[in-house]
């Protein structure tokens, strides 16, 4: 049979990756994905979906199930989650979408699809143990409001990063 020309009118199932779902579901946290019956409770309660309709947990779950590896991992939207856990709190089938998203982010980061801002922040946390950088200007501003100085100490976080081996992941992150 001659191959029909497809310019994005439809998704060619043969071109998708059926291993993608099982690869994601290998992770303990993502095991419940198959129970999803697409009721959309996750999307309805998602504060990010309200602002960015492109970020849609119900849709992402289906894309993983279909095996749309490239689309999912290169999608900027998987990085939009604010980790509020609303989706898994109200899910009637106990699908831990938040955890599934973490698995996807890890896979994407290893492929070098992590957004720059995220990569930079990760590097900074590993280096300083702090999420936000501070500078003298900030302290000055605080003093002008008579706020006490911040006691910033990232050493404990750095210790955790070292003990858990998180710093070794740095090498795997591309970007």
């Amino acid at each position: 049979m001659e191959k029909e020309e497809n310019n994005g009118e439809y998704i060619e199932l043969a071109e998708l990756d059926p291993d993608f779902k099982s690869e994601v579901m290998k992770h303990e946290d993502a095991k419940g994905l198959n129970a999803c019956f697409a009721c959309g409770t996750c999307t309805a309660g998602c504060p990010i979906h309200e602002i960015f309709p492109e970020y849609d947990p119900r849709k992402l779950a289906k894309m993983v199930k279909l095996g749309m590896r490239e689309e999912v991992l290169t999608s900027p939207y998987i990085w939009y989650c604010t980790t509020c856990h609303n989706c898994e709190q109200h899910c009637p089938q106990n699908v831990k979408f938040f955890n599934i998203l973490n698995v996807l982010k890890n896979m994407a980061a290893k492929k070098g699809y992590a957004p720059n801002a995220w990569v930079e922040q990760t590097k900074q946390i590993i280096k300083t143990g702090l999420v936000f950088t501070t500078d003298e200007a900030l302290f000055k501003k605080r003093r002008s409001f008579s706020l006490p100085d911040l006691k910033l100490d990232g050493s404990k976080v750095k210790k955790i990063i070292k003990l858990t081996g998180i710093d070794k992941i740095k090498a795997q992150i591309k970007g």
């Binding site: 129970a35 019956f37 697409a38 009721c39 959309g40 409770t41 996750c42 999307t43 309805a44 309660g45 998602c46 979906h49 309200e50 309709p53 849609d56 119900r58 849709k59 609303n86 709190q89 109200h90 009637p92 089938q93 106990n94």
Partner: protein, 597 residues
Amino acid sequence: MLPDKKKRIGVFFCHCGKNIAGGLNIEALIESSKQIQEVSYVVDNKFSCSEDGQVDIQKAIQEQKLDRIVVVACSPSLHLMTFQRCGEKAGIEPQFVDLIDIRKWTMHGSPQKIAPEKALEKSKKLIELAVKRMRLKRLIPMAEIKTEQSALVIGGGVAGLEAGLDLADKGYKVHIVERLPTIGGKMALLYKVFPTNDCAPCILAPKTAYANIHPNITLLTNSEVKSMGGYIGSFHVKIVQNPRYIEADKCTGCGECVEKCPVKVKDDVFSAGMGQRKAVYIPYDQAIPKKAVIDAQNCLYFRKGVCRLCEKQCPTNAINFGQKPKTVEIKVGAIIVATGFDEYNPTEKSEYGYGRYNNVITQFQLARLLDIDGPTKGQLLRPSDGKEPKRIVMIQCVGSRDVSTNPYCSNICCMYALKHAQIIKEMVLPEAEIYICFIDMRTVGKGFEEYYSRTREIGINFIRARPSEVIQDTETKDLSLKVEDPEIGRLLKLEAGLVVLSCATIPSSGTEQLSKTLGIKLDKDGFFKEMHPKLRPVETNVRGIYICGSDQGPKDIPNAIVQAKAAASCADTELRKNKIKLPQFIVNASKLKKGGR
């Protein structure tokens, strides 16, 4: 004490096609079985339960002069009777036929499937033990029991009444026990019933009225089963009749006491919390028996020793504050359990706000509001301000298909949501917009799909999505919720005056206690467990006790009736024998541990 005569035991192996032969070395089993003491004949068969298989067993019994047989095949609950009948035909006492199950270890898809070597080892052991049991077994004569020509029905809802009436019409004496002061159950409170929208109390009345006057039926309302003993044909049941504080034979149901009673309380049972009743009340107009009842928890006389207005008012002097619980003892041949269901209380699904927001109600409450003889006389007024809601949103699967509450589908919620949508649109508030948020629309049943089509045709809106939460406007008490409509892939914000939750169907309160009282099993969801989900749907683990209606699992009225008739038929099958034979057991008292175990 060993039996003296040498036994001739036959062992028959069934291949069950490839189910057993595919996973076990039957040749090896035959060889090992031949070595067991007093086994004189061993043979295998492709299908022992087939006609050929049975003829072969019978031939072998006669030719080899076997007096006991062990069939090695599948589950005794499935086929023991088959082989006992087969053996009996060839002259072997049913007690000397045993069936042991080795198929569960080898069959594809069996949850107990194990490795072939393990299955072989276990099978050998099991066969050895079964043969030994047969070898040592003495003939114990069967006990002959006279069956009482009567039955007890627990639960006076539509299923219990149907089963009770069927048995009563067949000529048995039937006692119907109902916990509430009236029979009729949930159906009497549903206003209309799908898929024909006929009036529920009207189509129920022929049954309740007939039960009330049937010469073979005794109604025990306000009563509960306290204890049960005995066995099929002869169950002894103790029933506690709770006091009405009104002499039923004197009460004419005139309602004068109700009129004069100064205490008003929320009616949680017959109005589902949507209306009020007095401390002395008649449940509803079609209540049977139509007798008043005093609710001692709220009556001023019981609480503070004052009032007694009803007593002064009653024209027949029926009030009797001194009534005490009465125990009734009955002896029946069979018991039918039809204790029905309760609506799931959605308070724990706190995201939907039930219990916090007045305008979030359940479908059962909506049914009471829509009922023209209900607490609001059929006006749909929202609880917060008594105004008519302009937009109504129904949420399906609340507490159903939800692993954190009840994992099962409650079966009837899709249909009753459609029913209420139709009633509102066609009879109550034609201007109101109705939205139904669902996951899957399950309308399986005769005439049900047409009912769904009709609901769409009259303009009810359907959204295949579930909202995550309901939010209340603190000023207006209006509600808002968001759902993602998958057809357009966009988030919809729905503002509603009333939100109705289609809540799960759960076993009625007391089901667990009753299962202990009667010794019948519950399934994982708390409903009564049938003997076999397909082949023996109304029998229980206790012979002579049958289940029907929603206590066996969520179901609609047509299915409840079918089961009720099945349960009545099962009871009749046993009772009509007049005498039944039951196996007896000899207990070696010297080996009993302290406490009789």
